[in-house]
């Protein structure tokens, strides 16, 4: 069969201010598992959304079995045999497994009445066919994440899909569950079907994929045969660009004084034995892939999540931080990655936002002193060069960069000495990024200490004095700025901390090698 199951060429997609994909290409053969890899923000999810009909491309050609198609919507994508399993599930927690899978297509008696028995039988037949072990009558909300993942897969397969796209399907699975999932994928692939598999776990790609397509910054880079490549080569392709010499941190040298010491920090859900020190005047970068647990470390430190074990010392004394308000009063401020929801009151003005954490300072017996708030706001508007017509401007009308500066100002007013920035430049354009970087360096000079969580490796490399790398809830290594580069960071970030064997089953590997 020379015609590819799916071929994409010349696909471009722009959003206001961002070119998400340009001249993207990709092909998927029959009976193939194609891995799609790229850094965070490389354009993988945009590509997926084009394929599932959520977005419409600006230009480009999609072909299925050599026939050009224009995907008009999610339902149309389903009809074409394309099923996507998104990272966040689309399930009804209160319904049973079978009810979820056949919602909208349930077997009926006389048009109105449901036949629960027929529904469960249908589901059971499906599970037998695709070899999934699920109870049709179990309530989805009672299932583990892994089982819910299986429900999503079963639902996708129940639509007679030919092209199955999985977006980080194993992010929440343990090794045994990953192995089950891989068996499922192998069962699914045949001469009529193919799978596009997005993952960050390099060892998995080795185990499951036939070829690997690498994309970077919205562009197609290369496709390699999995059997003939090494993990290092793939990482090189993913990272690509070199870091130029002038993108190193500012000359400010941190002192030896330890302001924050975290020892053996663990949480029930994810974090395991996290230990590190933050020095005065230092930027400690936290690198890792999505879901590695970087945000969770920050949340655990400021008391937003419960710690199951471990200690936190501030300036040498043991502290117990019950919630973010306590953290703030001790001088630790957390600037959330989700600025719009967790960092700002979008409908309130600049002045209110800046004063929000320190209202006590601006009030007497509960009555707010508007004048004092205004003058403090003006001071910080000047200091941080916030571009706003006045301190009475509503926050949502400002650009992302200026919104971020408002959040920073809020914590500066609160007089926090330790600032934890989570993705400080997410959604901010290039020029404004430079300003934020300059601001971070100024803060160091003023004696602040900074933890910076970022998914952009160049940003981490440029600003951090030291870099802590996380993978799957653990710290996998520390790198000093001089020894760090994108390759060794990425290697640590993709380290599988559970040393499990994920060898492909003999039969399927034989099948693959014949191709």
């Amino acid at each position: 069969m020379s015609k590819k199951l799916l071929r994409i060429s010349g696909v471009s997609k722009s959003f206001p201010g961002v070119k998400a994909l340009s001249d993207m290409q990709l092909d998927l053969a029959h009976n193939e598992v194609l891995a799609l890899v790229g850094e965070n923000g490389a354009g993988k999810s945009t590509l997926m959304k084009l394929l599932s009909g959520i977005y419409v491309p600006d230009s480009g050609v999609f072909e299925i079995d050599g026939e050009e198609v224009a995907i008009t919507g999610t339902k149309h994508a389903q009809e074409l045999g394309i099923s996507i399993i998104h990272q966040e599930f689309n399930l009804m927690q209160d319904l049973t497994v079978a009810q979820n899978i056949y919602i909208g297509r349930e077997p009926r008696v006389g048009g109105l009445f449901l036949s629960e028995r027929a529904l469960n039988r249908k589901a059971r037949l499906l599970f037998d066919r695709i070899n999934i072990d699920l109870d049709p009558k179990a309530r989805v909300g009672d299932l583990t994440v892994a089982k819910q993942q299986m429900v999503e897969i079963a639902k996708a397969l129940s639509y007679k899909s030919r092209i199955l796209i999985m977006d980080e399907p194993t992010a929440a699975l343990n090794d045994a569950e990953v192995a089950t999932l891989h068996d499922l994928i192998r069962n699914f692939t045949n001469e009529e079907t193919g799978v596009i598999y997005i993952s960050h776990r390099m060892d998995e790609l080795k185990a499951i994929s036939n070829r690997i397509t690498v994309i970077r910054d919205g562009e197609y880079i290369d496709t390699v045969n999995t059997a003939e490549t090494t993990m290092g080569e793939v990482i090189n392709l993913m990272v690509g660009r070199e870091i130029s010499g002038n993108q190193r941190p500012a000359s400010h040298t941190p002192s030896d004084e330890v302001v924050l010491k975290v020892t053996g920090l663990s949480t029930k859900d994810l974090l395991q034995d996290i230990s590190f020190e933050l020095h005065k005047g230092e930027i400690l970068g936290f690198a890792g892939l999505m879901g590695a647990g970087r945000t969770e470390v920050a949340r655990a430190i400021v008391g937003a999540d419960k710690i199951s074990s471990g200690t936190i010392e501030l300036n040498g004394s043991l502290v117990s931080i019950g919630n973010p308000a306590v953290a703030a009063s001790m001088g630790v401020g957390y600037l959330s990655e989700d600025r719009k929801h967790l960092g700002l009151l979008l409908e309130r003005d600049v002045k209110d936002n800046i004063a929000l954490s320190s209202l006590k300072m601006f009030s007497r017996m509960g009555v707010l002193n508007d004048k004092a708030m205004k003058s403090t706001a003006s001071t910080y508007i000047d200091k941080l060069r916030i571009k706003t017509p006045s301190s009475a401007q509503v926050a949502k009308n400002l650009s992302g960069g200026n919104q971020q500066k408002i959040v920073i100002a809020k914590w500066l007013v609160k007089d926090c000495d330790i600032l934890i920035f989570d993705e400080p430049t997410r959604g901010i354009d290039v020029g404004a990024k430079e300003e934020i970087y300059a601001l971070l360096n100024e803060l160091l000079v003023q004696g602040k200490s900074i933890i910076m969580i970022s998914s952009e490796l160049p940003e981490v490399l440029r600003l951090s004095h030291r870099i802590a790398v996380m993978s799957e809830g653990r710290l996998t290594g520390f790198l000093s700025n001089s020894e760090a580069n994108q390759e060794n960071l990425m290697a640590l970030a993709t380290l599988n901390t559970h040393s499990a064997v994920l060898a492909p089953l003999p039969s399927s590997s034989a099948q693959r090698s014949t191709k």
């Binding site: 209160d94 297509r105 349930e106 109105l112 009445f113 629960e116 109870d135």
Partner: protein
């Protein structure tokens, strides 16, 4: 290799069966608990006052449950979708006035008047559904507005005077106070409530409409993405809910043999309280008709029992409020434990 795999498979199936059993047990335990609370209340009042456990009084309790119970049945549907219906109290009043008008001023035969009364309720529900699903007005606001509209219309149409249905032969007896089963003191209205509860229970658990009610309340986006016409079904669900309001209006008219145009306000909150006590979540996705029936019975047993114990009405209200808080808090705690 195959041997260990088989063993693992067997173990998996066994653990599956186990979890299935646990889920079942938990679900029945939940309803058992509500029922046990009801029994405990009955027991308590029986001991506390000899006047409580008398056939006439028990029949009274049941009769006083009918109108709020019917309203609660309908609004259970709406609440499971994640919505709320504040218009059922005065909507019931308007349906009551309309039923009386149909039978007297418009001269419809009794049975036609009854059917038209129920259909009128369905129409009001349909309008609510249209406002919520098509015009995208939040259900709280839409039904709050409808509550006022219905209150006003009931007064306008009746000319602010009660509309009497004394002339309609057999109406009161057949649809409210008559006792069809010899030897039993239970009036017909109670049987109508239980019949309606059975219909509602079947609708919710055995029909497509019921399935989508849960589905919409559980995750409306996922439901829509699965190809379900959420707008259409939401309108239908509200329409069904409204027909129960209409039936409540009919029964209320029959019981007093007149439509009282000024009443009804406040009943919606009693109905919602019954639904919530019955374990239906205001967040949507969860709930049952049997729970609602038990919730409504708990409310009326409590009110009746406290009256019999000569607790002043002011304090009865306090007690009901505390019971609602307790019921909802215990339910939340149990769910939290179950999910851990």
């Amino acid at each position: 290799m195959t041997l260990t795999k088989d063993a693992a498979q067997t173990a998996k199936i066994a653990s599956n069966k186990q979890s299935e059993l646990n889920t079942r047990l938990r679900a029945s335990f939940q309803q058992l608990l509500a029922f046990a609370s009801l029994l405990a209340l009955v027991l308590f009042f029986s001991v506390a006052s000899s006047n409580f456990y008398q056939a006439a009084n028990l029949s009274n309790i049941l009769l006083s449950t009918v109108v709020t119970g019917l309203l609660a049945l309908g609004t259970t549907f709406v609440i499971i979708t994640g919505g709320i219906d504040l218009s059922i109290g005065t909507g019931m009043t308007l349906a009551s006035v309309m039923t009386a008008v149909f039978m007297t001023q418009m001269g419809m035969p009794m049975i036609v008047g009854v059917i038209c009364g129920v259909l009128f309720g369905a129409l009001m529900g349909g309008i609510n559904g249209f406002l919520v699903a098509v015009m995208k007005i939040p259900s709280f606001i839409a039904t709050l507005a409808m509550m006022m509209v219905a209150a006003g219309l009931a007064l306008v149409i009746s000319g602010t005077k009660p509309v009497y249905t004394n002339e309609v032969a057999g109406f009161q007896s057949i649809f409210a106070l008559g006792k069809s089963i010899p030897g039993l003191v239970i009036p017909n209205a109670v049987f109508i409530l239980f019949a309606a509860a059975i219909v509602a229970g079947l609708l919710l658990s055995k029909t497509v409409l019921g399935r989508y009610t849960y589905s919409i309340g559980s995750n409306v986006q996922a439901t829509a993405l699965s190809g379900v016409n959420v707008t259409k079904w939401t309108v239908l669900i509200y329409t069904v809910a409204g027909s129960f309001t209409g039936l409540a209006g009919v029964i209320a008219t029959a019981r007093l043999n007149s439509a009282q145009p000024a009443g009804g306000a406040g009943l919606e909150l009693q109905a919602i309280a019954a639904v919530v006590i019955g374990g239906t979540s205001l967040a949507g996705g969860k709930g049952s008709i049997i729970g609602t029936v038990i919730g409504a019975l708990i409310m009326s047993v409590l009110t009746n029992g406290l009256s019999i114990m000569s607790i002043p009405q002011e304090w009865q209200q306090v007690a009901v409020g505390v019971v609602i808080l307790l019921a909802v808090y215990l339910d939340m705690m149990r769910r939290k434990k179950a999910s851990n």
